[in-house]
Amino acid sequence: MAIGQISVLLIALAAVHLPLGAYLARVYTSPKHLRVERAGYRLMRVDADAEQKWSSYLFSLLGFSMASLLFLYALGRLQNHLPMSLGVSAFDPAGAWNTAVSFVANTNWQWYSGEAAAGHFYQMAGLAVQNFVSAAVGISVAIALIRGFQRSGTDGRLGNFWSDLTRTCVRVLLPMAFLGAIVLLATGVIQNFDSHTAVQTVTGATQSVLGGPVASQEVIKELGTNGGGFFNANSAHPFENPTPISNLFEIFLILVIPFTLPRTFGIMVGDKRQGWAILSVMSSLWLASVALLTWAEMSGPGAVARAAGGALEGKELRFGTAGSALFAAATTGTSTGAVNAMHDSLTAPGGGVAIFGMLLGEVAPGGVGTGLYGLLMLAIVAVFVGGLMVGRTPEYLGKKIGRQEITLVALYILTMPLLVLVGTAVAIATPAGQAGIQELGPHGLSEVLYAVTSAANNNGSAFAGLTAATPFYNTLLGVAMLAGRFIPIALVLALAGRFASQRTTPTTAGTLPTHQPLFVGLVAAVTVVIVGLTFIPVLSLGPIVESLT
């Protein structure tokens, strides 16, 4: 069962990523605009052919995100006045802020339950739109970084943000989401504008069931590695994810763009082997996480779980242990955060692997765009150490890693641990933070660590257990999401700008080869060791202690 699912998934991903990768490369290199895109540029009053320097690219990106954030905040505060509001009340300021940040930052952490607190209009015009554009922002940054590697000795221009954003939505996400939604509908995911319907349950009780435009939102939730569920139960809800087939298809949707972008990268930098190397790092880390999670959940804690064929608590029987473990590895390996099982109920080692998957910085394979640029940053660290060991000033794809480059990379590497460790420490040391913890002891620490990690890495999945719908957590996690999204983006774009203006050094036999298995191993080792060394102390008091109990 486990092996079969994984094999089908891998074959599908392998088959799709080649043509899709090439298509994406064409999307971002084609000089032509579509008519609908031109109309959009006229509407936004931007010149989509004007190349931007990194700073102006960044300001456009920040301006766009800021506007989105304010718009979403306003929608949340006013949602009781919106059409199809289903009678929900307005979000309080902390809640509206948290959700606005969360969806703009592609985190999609939800402190509320979707069906109880969000109306249809807010979901569609607010959240679903952000599902598209926040994903497009991530991909745009990755493309800008690729252009930085691609260009040599220019004045540091990286393309046009508005064009990248629009093309990603128009040519990539919308068509793919359209196709994906049809497949989901075929598996039984609902799509309507129904409000609450009263139904009689088998036991005779009456239950109020909410309908809604679920398929259209579900597909981009996975495709854009967003994760915010229409329903509170997220992908465990039968309207979102009815069958094992839909489950596997949703996993495929989560992984397809992150695993495709290395191909696009290889094509755009003119050396497909470089793309293969990055893909290999991503897949080996991800497969390790799948293997560990599946093993942890299937062998379950204690004799009962073993007899039942795995740890079943908090899992949907229609997906089974393997289907849940695979989904958990996909959602934490990417920065998706959709869940089809209670992560709080994962076995201790399984929960540890899920946290570690996020702590890797969401690079295995990571979120759309963020995964690629995150891994490229780690590759630069590997190149720095490895490059020295072959006796040259380190260089990656012909770009020398000097003082300014390594400073930007070092700040990037610092950002996430800073947010996670300080955020978790503040939460664990203050009464407001401790108040949210459901279970004391090591598991309580895991809950808080999971929440802050999820926010800082723009994952958005929750361990449950933690009561995060408080002003304290809404504010703390909001800050973590915002900083965890935009500080790295700023650093990546600055680095891309430097690379674009740097002259490319030609490759010789003395250059560190960055396409060979040895380098793949080095990058994977650097990733695991840096993350491991940073977080082992806190992990040892949470999941590790739990696992050993």
């Binding site: 012909g398 401790q434 620490l445 060979q516 060394l533 102390p537």
Partner: protein, 712 residues
Amino acid sequence: MSAPTLTSVEASPNPHAHSARTASALSWAQIRGAMPDALRKLNPKEMVASPVLFVVEVGAVLTTGLAITDPSLFAILITIWLWATVLFATLAESIAESRGKAQASSLRATQKQTTARKVIAASGTSKLTSGFTRMATEDVPSASLAVGDVVLVSAGETIPGDGDVVEGAASVDESAITGESAPVIRESGGDRSAVTGGTVVLSDTIAIRITAPAGSTFVDRMIALVEGSERQRTPNEIALNILLTSLTIIFLLAVVTLQPFAIYSGSPQSLLVLVALLVCLIPTTIGALLSAIGIAGMDRLVQRNVLAMSGRAVEAAGDVDVLLLDKTGTITYGNRRATDLLVATGATIEELAGAARLASLADETPEGRSVLVLIDEKFSGPGAEPLADILGAELVPFSAHTRMSGIDLAGPDGLRIRKGAASTVARWVHSTGGVTPDQIETLVDGVSMTGGTPLVVAQQYGSGPARVLGVIHLKDVVKEGLRERFDELRAMGIRTIMVTGDNAITARAIAAEAGVDDVLAEATPEDKLVLIRREQAGGRLVAMAGDGTNDAPALAQADVGVAMNTGTSAAKEAGNMVDLDSDPTKLIEIVRIGKQLLITRGALTTFSIANDIAKYFAILPAMFMVVFPQLEVLNIMGLSSPESAILSAVIFNALIIVVLIPLSLRGVRYRPVAASALLRRNLLIYGLGGLIAPFIGIKLIDLLTSLLPGIG
């Protein structure tokens, strides 16, 4: 004004003395000598430059306070070893510097204040090139000399400052600078005009125009360099330091935030233990050795008699993609040698050999002598004329005008022999009414095609028509072993380009023989500059060696420009390295040293980070085993007690610095292989080794510390 004594020559930087010293391990004397300086470096003001060590020092101050307020054997031992960690780091740097200091003091001996004989009327006579030796002089202290002054120096006197010889020629003892005891010739005009202050004239009198003001002479710069007083961090060292600093910050965060988690878990940690954990995690090993590695890298160059004017150039040497090598003197021996005799139709080999021998007997040039060697070895026969015949003969020296040399015998036959370039000899033959057979043209072209130089030999009896006897094949002889070295360079990813003034055919033939990758033929100094610019525009780093004034622009343009010490001041000024041995093939060695420097940094960084994994296995169970006994599983080393585990990790962390000092001074072994093979090897040794070594080391230390009362 004294001739150098024997002792001062011995104290000078002699390459052999240095290599002997490097080979030996650290000596106690060395450590003792470096200790005062190491203690001085503990000054926090100096320490801030290295954030990793600064954190250790702050930690040591904190634990000192704890050990005083709440004394225990554990606290005292941790404190002692934390201070030891900082001290070992400063000691490493001091030992690296101490080698340079010894050299500097011997160089200072050459800097004694001397009296210079300054030509009074020389100021304002910058265009004057002769007649100084007859002008009036005044005695002034050498320190007062200004640029442009002209001084006279005679045999036995010390040259008062750097300058160019503007008149005369002299043999000069430069052993104080180069360690080479054989005197060298310095003469006005040409590329051997530069003299260095502090060297001693052994014969004749020369006039020198001062080119560097007192205080910034070559020796001054050399002292500053070897002493490390002007040492600035190089770009890659700065970049690595940034990476290490960010790792330090990450670990600082990990340890500082551990306390709230520990309190939550019901197991608050003492400050002592947290400091110990922090010091073990931050990359102290590479942090401690980083500057020693840089200083030792420069020192390795000095040991090979190369002075790098900046550390940046040493690093750039590791990155070089293209080597420009002059053909003459670098790839070939510089003198063409006769390798074959080709007989013309109608002449015999004996005739040709005899005539060639006669014509070369009085030829003192290396080419002329090589003709004699060839004939003696391969063509000696009855044709050799008795030596007596040339008595009274008239030598015809080579001149730019006639472009031939030869000999006119005094005998009744009036035998005249000429050798020279084909066209000039043919003209001479025609002028006597003789003819050159067509076959000569074939022979000449054949020699030219293979890159050789044909010398046509002809003779004339009396006033009869001259007759062409044949052709001497002169060839540039490529130095032995170069092909292998170029293969090595290719494996390292470095392209070699041979630069020569020869025509394209000759150049290509020699290039093929030597195994260089590319040729720049009929090169002018401007061509060289253009070539360098073109390579650099393609993103490549270029290294070259040169000595002439017209090399100066190219030397300045190259990323690594090595000027020969025998060269002109302009060349030495333009390059960023000076080779005191004036050996252009040393470029290859400079590249190796540059690479070795970078590899050593990378290897020790990898080692340092890999070490941390074992330290976690030692310290984390020790910290939390009290509340979470199940963490005992992680104590895979079976360390005897929490205190002993933590102490062992701290001691290992300190001792590993000392263990690695010799390696950081010597540099990691470098073999010229492809980058992937190099990476595999170094990852295996320093990555895997760094992972395993501390498990063994900490366990062994634990076996000892567990014997201490209250620890084990």
